[in-house]
């Protein structure tokens, strides 16, 4: 089943990035940036 899924991944190339890992990294980076901004907001105005 794992091989089939890998093949499926090959057939389903993502847009913009070379692999889906690029999109996943983007999600994590955006989350980290948001948490950092929220932290700044908390500290600036509290």
């Amino acid at each position: 089943m794992n091989n089939d899924i890998s093949n499926n991944d090959q057939e389903n190339k993502p847009p913009v990035f070379k692999s889906w890992k690029g999109w996943y990294a983007l999600l994590i980076i955006v989350l980290a940036v948001l948490v950092f901004l929220f932290y700044l907001l908390t500290n600036t105005y509290s």
């Binding site: 089939d4 499926n8 847009p15 999109w23 929220f38 932290y39 908390t42």
Partner: protein, 575 residues
């Protein structure tokens, strides 16, 4: 409401329903009805996923929650982007590979029929009850605000949803959710802009943030690790992660949204879109609530936001007590307003000592105002013992009705009804799919024509819709029902997620072991909840309900592995 508001409200809702029915008429087969012929693009899937999760209570309660408790609730969504990654890597490729209609179909391929049936029945019970509450919870608030009959409001929401969901199935749900989401986000953003523009001229946006921050409403992140504190950074990225994995990965009302995608890539991108937009969206809704709070620091708020209940007090024998409280409340408000203007000046002059002194004065006056609100709640209870004294859900729409111009009020009510309709439609669609595919077609009528199953799906959608209205109608008879049904998700999601995680990652564990493990884990979770609900749990078992998702999931994996090990050593246990 004015005639223009009524035209906007009724016109918006009817236009969406009529367009949805017309655009998706004539589903020819089961695949088209339940999976929308796999025609959805990533942005349609993303919108559909977000619209399904955003119920009317999201838009009614969230600003009120920020008004009362601040922005901390946004941390609940920190686990969502991580859940989207795990689902994109693990769950969706397998669903696509097996070409399933429902998530539970996969469980029979991996385990056996009884595990599939157990998971689908758990889903039907939990989601069937929740569908009633999705209608009832906003109906009780909207009927109060609009002075409508509660039963009529339930029927109004339920019937509108039934019309297009029965007619067009998944295609109609996805199609209408695009328009509903546009109404929801457009209306909320406009309301946000209006509340900021209605602040006093002397108060800039930066000043508004300072006022909110000094009054404890801008504490967005909390890094303290406390199992009993529901909203912290840690509970968001751990406990809520499990909840979101279960909700988006195993709840058919969400799985059906991305299974209608054109390809695996489109479905993945739809989930990624949800992961990118959900946290900012919740932040904006909470921020609108905080801005409403700041608005009411410079414009006197009602003592109690549910005006129907406060009117009852005014008309009762407690009128004089109420009038005295109102007088004190107004005096305190004026004093607080003066101190706030001074505090804003001190902040702009960067006079820290004076800011702290004025902040302390403002807090003291706020505490006195809060005490008066508590006294009003006592009067509300004295007049009507069954009255709900938590007025958080009425804050935002009371602000809308009292302060926004004609036209905006109708639009904001359209936002609330659209949100109720979009989540109910997904639920009915998913309940029908699971009933048809996992029970009716699999175990009751196995060899009928595609046309027969298409007709059955429509009938099951109608049946679940009528049941949801019926349940919503009788929901008020049961005390604490909303809380009970909200809990229901966390009681079952952990176990269901555990079954799926064992299926994906623990190849060693087979069907019989995971079935027994799931039942035992569920008993343990219910036992833990019983101990916590009755406040007799030992310290190490004390937890908020979010953590039931983690406990249920881990127990299924642990028990499943142990039972499989025992079965290998003692094959007679398999019997």
């Amino acid at each position: 409401m004015s005639a223009l508001d009524w035209i906007i409200l009724i016109g918006t809702l009817l236009a969406i329903v009529i367009y949805g029915v017309w655009k998706t008429r004539g589903a020819k087969n089961l695949e088209g009805y339940l999976k929308g012929d796999n025609q959805d693009k990533w942005w349609g899937i993303g919108i559909s996923i977000m619209a399904t999760q955003a119920s009317a209570i999201t838009f009614l309660s969230t600003p009120g929650q920020a008004y009362m408790d601040g922005m901390g609730f946004v941390q609940f969504y920190f686990g969502l982007p991580i859940a989207m990654i795990i689902l994109s890597v693990t769950f969706i490729p397998i669903y696509y590979k097996l070409k399933v209609f429902t998530a539970y179909e996969f469980l029979e391929t991996r385990f056996d029929l009884k595990t599939r049936s157990l998971a689908s029945i758990l889903f039907l019970v939990q989601r069937g009850l929740a569908a009633g509450i999705t209608i009832y919870a906003p109906a009780i608030i909207l009927s109060t605000l609009l002075d409508w009959n509660l039963f009529a409001t339930n029927i109004f929401i339920g019937l509108l949803v039934i019309i297009y969901t029965v007619s067009g199935g998944t295609k109609a749900v996805t199609q209408t959710q695009k328009q509903q989401m546009a109404v929801m986000m457009g209306g909320m953003v406009l309301a946000g802009i209006m509340v900021i523009s209605m602040l006093p001229k002397e108060i800039s946006l930066n000043d508004a943030f300072h006022v909110a921050g000094k009054m404890g409403k801008l504490e967005v992140v909390d890094f303290d690790f406390d199992l009993n504190n529901r909203y912290t950074f840690w509970s968001g990225i751990t406990a809520a992660l499990f909840l979101f994995m279960s909700y988006f990965g195993t709840d058919q009302s969400q799985v059906q949204r991305y299974l209608s995608g054109k390809s695996l890539s489109e479905s993945r991108l739809g989930l990624i879109m949800n992961g990118l937009l959900k946290v900012p969206m919740q932040f904006v809704i909470l921020l609108i609530g905080v801005m409403v709070f700041v608005f009411y620091q410079f414009n006197e708020p009602p003592m109690f936001f549910n005006k129907v209940e406060s009117e009852k007090v005014i008309e009762s024998e407690y009128y004089e007590e109420y009038a005295d409280l109102q007088e004190n409340y107004s005096t305190l408000f004026e004093e607080k307003q003066l101190e706030l203007f001074k505090m804003v000046d001190a902040i702009n002059q960067e006079n820290e000592v004076l800011v702290n002194q004025l902040k302390s004065n403002v807090e003291s006056l706020q505490n006195q105002s809060d005490q008066i609100r508590e006294d009003v709640k006592v009067l509300v209870k004295l007049v009507d013992e069954g009255a709900e004294t938590n007025d958080k859900d009425y804050v935002f729409m009371t602000f809308v009705m009292d302060n926004l111009p004609i036209g905006m009020i109708g639009l904001l009510f359209a936002v609330m009804f659209s949100a109720a309709m979009s989540s109910t439609a997904s639920e009915l669609n998913a309940l029908s799919s699971t009933t048809t595919i996992d029970l009716y077609k699999r175990s009751i009528k196995k060899k009928e024509s595609d046309r027969h199953y298409l007709r059955s799906s429509k009938l099951f959608t109608l049946m679940w819709g009528l049941l949801a209205i019926l349940f919503a109608t009788y929901a008020s008879l049961f005390e604490n029902l909303i809380q009970a049904v909200n809990l229901l998700g966390s009681l079952f999601y952990g176990t269901i997620l555990g079954i799926f995680l064992v299926a994906f990652y623990f190849k060693y564990v087979k069907g019989h072991a995971v079935f027994v493990a799931a039942i035992l884990a569920e008993i343990c979770v219910i036992g833990i909840h019983y101990l916590n609900a009755n406040e007799i749990a030992p310290v190490w078992l004390k937890m908020s309900y979010l953590w039931y998702n983690v406990v249920g999931c881990i127990l299924v994996i642990l028990f499943g592995y142990l039972f499989q090990l025992m079965m290998k050593k003692n094959p007679s246990l398999k019997e």
